[in-house]
């Protein structure tokens, strides 16, 4: 019961977080120094008072700020997100998000998976062999890997893949499954077929590796120290004393405990992924929600920026809740000691 109560408590606490985040977004956009209505109009139209007033009315800016705030929050709450202004002019925002979001999620899914599958085992390996040459190589690699800027790594990776024939002796683009181009959006409409799935995966693979690079380094590092910590616990000694084999010691007693500090790391990577998606989607020309956000911001569709920010906030809060659920699964102590 306590675990359920713990999760219920976390859900309750995430409500004010979403509220605070969206309120700040609203304040930045509508109370900020920029008049969103002006930004929506072209050079010529700004001179036209009628067009300006029309834009203001449509944005609801002719109302008192408080009224506008409640309307805005209300429409977010009911997912009544309206139409876009500049970007994909006049299209339904809901549809737009449904169109763009899956590509980002697909990218995020693979980058988390790759980071976890490479970073965690490598970290545990280094931790179990601490202060050996392989530990140093792995640790050093992780640190440098983590320090590389995403966008730069992406560019470099694209260059390498583009001339993979010359470097590795095979052509990445035609390897296994022929890709139409190195960059671009994955085709998610054929995921249910094996070939479609593989093609979509191969398409985002380089981007996912780049996006997951920082996370991979972090997970490795934390995994290493976690293993080092757990190795010195009394209960590990006691398990050894009672005759548990080294293999069982590692997999049963050390592994699961070392995972506990990794949980927040893996989920906080999700923050990075969502933020980093803007850069990586730009470099790899993937039409994801990050790129959409960036375009909306640079082209001045501020209402869309606000709406997308709301979607991001929901994503992040959702990931946070996922983290709490993971915690309760891995660590039976959660919920008893309080948050």
């Amino acid at each position: 019961m306590s675990r359920l109560r713990y999760i219920a408590k976390r859900v309750a606490l995430s409500v004010p977080v979403v509220w605070l985040g969206t309120t700040m977004t609203w304040a930045i956009i509508y109370l900020g120094p920029i008049d969103p209505a002006t930004r929506l109009l072209s050079e010529g139209q700004t001179q036209n008072p009628a067009a300006y007033e029309a834009a203001r009315t449509q944005l609801g800016l002719d109302q008192p700020p408080l009224q506008h705030y409640f309307d805005w929050m209300g429409s977010l709450l009911t997912f009544d997100l309206g139409q876009t202004w500049l970007l994909y002019q006049g299209s339904d925002v809901n549809a737009l998000i449904l169109d763009f979001l899956p590509r980002t999620l697909w990218l995020g899914f693979w980058s988390v998976l790759i980071a976890v599958c490479i970073g965690v085992p490598l970290g545990f390996y280094a931790g179990m062999r601490s202060n050996t040459a392989s530990d140093y190589v792995a640790s050093m690699g992780g640190i440098v890997w983590r320090a590389m800027p995403n966008f730069w790594l992406g560019i470099m990776l694209l260059a390498v893949l583009g001339s993979s024939q010359a470097i590795f002796g095979f052509d990445w683009q035609s390897l296994w499954i022929e890709l139409d181009a190195l960059t671009g959006s994955p085709d998610l409409s054929r995921l249910h077929t094996v070939e479609g799935f593989l093609a979509a995966t191969k398409k985002v693979l380089p981007a996912a590796i780049v996006l997951g690079s920082a996370s991979m380094g972090n997970e490795m590092r934390i995994g290493r120290t976690a293993v080092l910590e757990v190795r010195n616990e009394d209960y590990v000694d006691l398990a050894r004393a009672k005759g548990v084999s080294e293999r069982a010691l590692v997999w049963k007693h050390i592994f699961r405990n070392a995972l506990i500090p990794l949980v927040p790391i893996i989920t906080s990577e999700a923050f990075l992924l969502i933020g980093g998606s803007v850069l990586v989607e730009t470099v790899f020309s993937i039409n994801g929600i990050g790129l959409l956000f960036f375009n909306a911001a640079t082209q001045g569709d501020l209402p869309l920026v606000g709406t997308l920010m709301y979607v991001f906030i929901l994503l992040i809060v959702g990931v946070n809740l996922l983290q709490d659920v993971l915690y309760t699964v891995i660590d039976p102590r959660v919920g008893l000691e309080g948050a």
């Binding site: 010195n232 616990e233 009394d234 209960y235 590990v236 000694d237 006691l238 398990a239 050894r240 004393a241 009672k242 005759g243 548990v244 069982a248 049963k252 007693h253 699961r256 405990n257 506990i260 891995i330 660590d331 039976p332 102590r333 008893l336 000691e337």
Partner: protein, 328 residues
């Protein structure tokens, strides 16, 4: 009781290598335990008693290393290679019960693990046996507790569970490293009772390590007093408390409040316990010893046999060096 001791530790040396120095945490410790016997190892913090306990089970961690001596279990020398074969013959209970149990597995799971290794019990049979063991160590409502996690138990209960886990290995020797220090006095009494009971039932030998002279007096048959990595006195418990032979033992007993008249000042030992950084060249207690004489500062005392199997490493008892001989 057979002639051969169950466990015999001879000239054990454990050295910790730090950046600055080599610390001889255990410096030539020798003692033995016979079947069914409870032997105490008593000393202040930093005397090397816990390191001795860990070395017996091959659990000395870096930067510590066993650098000399032998640990004979039923006459067989325990080394890196064959410790694994004797896992379970010797079980250990640590000071802090909350750290001794893996927090992410149930009590039952951890006991069953030992049962699987040492008694080849699995499934329902293992669970039933685990419940029995928990009942044996006095945990009420064992069928329910077996599915609980360590953090759901109080300190006393957790220590009982640790003991149950040790028993699951079916050991001949139980090493108890300050098993009651983290517990309250009424809980300590429970655990001491429990250990005595188990020993009577299962003919278990116990190595009892503590800093508490009172616990030693209650729980052990035979005592080794350890000071700065060396055993300075060995004696049957009663004899030791009646006539401590080594000045350190004497001073230690006197400084315990409650044994002396409350209106008088407590007798004290001046100075601090030294950290042994090299092989002994003198008596390490000499600087604090009220009875030290010149030789004490230049000769490392050997154990001198006294009446009734007991011995003390003190020049006062060495007829060749001390004119006093047996002092009162």
């Amino acid at each position: 009781m057979s002639d051969e001791p169950l466990l015999s530790v001879r000239d054990l040396e454990v050295v910790f290598h730090t950046e600055r120095e080599r610390i001889h945490a255990v410096d030539g410790v020798t003692f033995e335990i016979r079947e069914g016997q409870t032997v105490g190892l008593v000393g202040e913090s930093g005397s090397g008693k816990s390191v001795t306990a860990r070395s017996i089970l091959g659990l000395v961690d870096e930067p510590g290393r066993i650098e000399g001596g032998e640990i004979l279990y039923r006459g067989e020398d325990l080394t890196e290679d064959n410790w694994a074969d004797h896992r379970g013959d010797i079980a250990i209970v640590f000071q802090d019960p909350t750290n001794s149990l893996n927090p992410v597995y149930t009590i039952g799971n951890q006991i069953e693990e030992a049962l699987r290794i040492h008694q080849d019990l699995r499934g329902r049979a293992a669970t039933d046996r685990a419940i029995e063991l928990l009942e044996d160590v006095g945990i009420p409502d064992a069928p329910r507790r077996v599915d609980e996690y360590p953090h759901q138990l109080s300190g006393g209960m957790a220590q009982r569970a640790v003991i149950a886990m040790a028993l699951a290995c079916d050991p001949d020797l139980l090493v108890c490293d300050e098993p009651t220090t983290a517990l309250d006095v009424t809980i300590q009494a429970q655990i001491l009772d429990l250990l005595a009971e188990l020993q009577a039932e299962q003919d278990l030998a116990i190595l009892f390590i503590t800093h508490d002279m009172g616990v030693i007096e209650d729980a052990t048959d035979w005592v080794n007093v350890i000071y700065a990595g060396e055993v300075v006195e060995r004696a049957p418990t009663e004899a030791l408390f009646d006539h401590p032979a080594h000045p350190y033992t004497r001073a230690l007993l006197e400084s315990i409040p409650g044994r002396t008249d409350p209106d008088e000042r407590l007798p004290t030992i001046e100075g601090e316990v030294p950290t042994p950084t090299g092989p002994a060249t003198d008596c390490r207690f000499a600087p604090r010893c009220p009875e030290a004489f010149e030789d004490c500062r230049s000769v490392a005392p050997e154990h001198v046999s006294l009446d009734g199997d007991r011995s003390a490493a003190c020049l006062l008892h060495d007829p060749a060096r001390s004119d006093g001989g047996e002092r009162q």
